[in-house]
Subunit: 182 residues, 2 copies
C-alpha cells in the first residue's frame, strides 16, 4: 500500500501562485520559534518519492538549485527535456496517469508519495488516490492566480483531523480523504 | 465608528454556493453538542444591521420565510421590487457604494454591520471597510460555484486571531483586517 500526501500552502483565496507563477506573496511572514518550519521537515522525512507536474518542475528549476535529496517523478505527457540535472539527480520523467503511476511506484517499493503542484494534486484527488492533505492557509488575499483546487468529477468529502494556528497567522489543517478502492 | 463583519462558510475550494446558487452541500454535517451553532447566534446578537446584495436577497427570499429580525439593507443599483415584504419588514433598498452606505448607516446610529454575500463582501473588502471575517471552512470540494473572494485592487493582508476546529470537521478562523482610513 502506497500512501499519497499533499503538503501545500495557499492564499486565503485559494491560490498557490500568482497568474505568472510568482511566489513573492509567500515572503514576509514572521514565523516564531514555536512556529518552526510548520512541520515541513518532519513531513519530508516521512516521504520517499516526490511527484510533481511539468509546471512545478520548471518553477523548482527556476530556483537555481535543485532542492530535493529524494527521488522525484515528473508527470508529463511531453518528452523529457535534455537537462544534465535529469542524469545527475534521482529524477524520473513519466507520462503515466495517476493510478498507473502509483502502481508503477508501488512495484518499485515506494511507500509514501508527496504529490505537489495544482494540476497533479487535482488529478490524484479526482482519481481518489490522495490519503491526506496538510493545507496551510496564508492570511492574504491576492485576487488571482493558479488555484490549488479545480473541477471535480464528484463532491469530495474530507475529514479534518487536526488544526493549528501559528503565531505568523498561518492556519494549518490536516485533512484525510476517503480513498477509492482500486 | 461603525464596525463591519463577515460571518460566512465556504467549501474547502472557496465557494459559498454551487453555480446555480444551490446550498445542498451544506447539509449532512453532524454538529456535536459542543459544536453548537458555530457561534452564529452570539454573532447575530452583536449585529444591528445586515447588509446584503440583490442575489443574496433573492436566495433568502427563496427560503420561503424571512429569517431576519433585524434591519436589512439590500445594496442594488436596480429599482426595488414591489414586494409586500419590503413594507412589512425592516428592509431598506439602497443603490449606494460601500463607503457611502457606511456613512449613511453611521448617521442613523448603526454600530455593527453584518456584510453578507460574495459580491457585497468583495466590494467592502476592496474599499477597506471590513473589520473582521469569521470564516468557516466546510471540508468538502464541490469543484465549481460562486466564490467568496474575487479580484482585489491590491494584496489584502489579514491577521488570524483565533481558530477552532469543530467535531463536525468545520474549521473556523476569525481574521482581522487592517481598515483603510476614510
Amino acid at each position: 500500500m502506497v500512501k499519497a500526501s499533499v503538503y501545500i500552502a495557499t492564499s486565503l483565496d485559494g491560490f498557490i501562485a500568482r497568474p505568472d507563477g510568482a511566489l513573492d506573496w509567500l515572503n514576509g511572514w514572521q514565523a516564531s520559534a514555536q512556529d518552526g518550519d510548520y512541520g515541513y521537515q518532519a513531513f519530508m522525512d516521512s516521504v520517499d518519492v516526490i511527484v510533481i507536474g511539468r509546471a512545478t518542475f520548471e518553477t523548482v528549476l527556476s530556483f537555481g538549485q535543485w532542492p530535493y535529496a529524494k527521488k522525484v517523478v515528473v508527470l508529463s505527457s511531453r518528452p523529457a527535456p535534455d537537462l544534465p540535472l535529469l542524469a545527475q539527480e534521482q529524477i524520473e520523467w513519466l507520462g503515466l496517469a495517476p493510478r498507473a503511476l502509483v502502481d508503477h511506484l508501488a512495484a518499485q517499493g515506494a511507500q509514501h508519495l508527496y504529490v505537489d503542484g495544482g494540476k497533479t494534486v487535482q488529478g490524484f484527488l479526482n482519481a481518489g488516490l490522495i490519503d491526506d492533505i496538510i493545507l496551510t492557509r496564508i492570511p492574504i488575499l491576492i485576487g488571482a492566480g493558479i488555484p490549488l483546487f479545480g473541477a471535480v468529477t464528484h463532491d469530495i468529502r474530507l475529514h479534518a483531523i487536526e488544526t493549528r494556528q501559528f503565531d505568523s497567522g498561518m492556519v494549518q489543517t490536516r485533512y484525510c480523504c476517503v480513498k477509492r478502492e482500486t
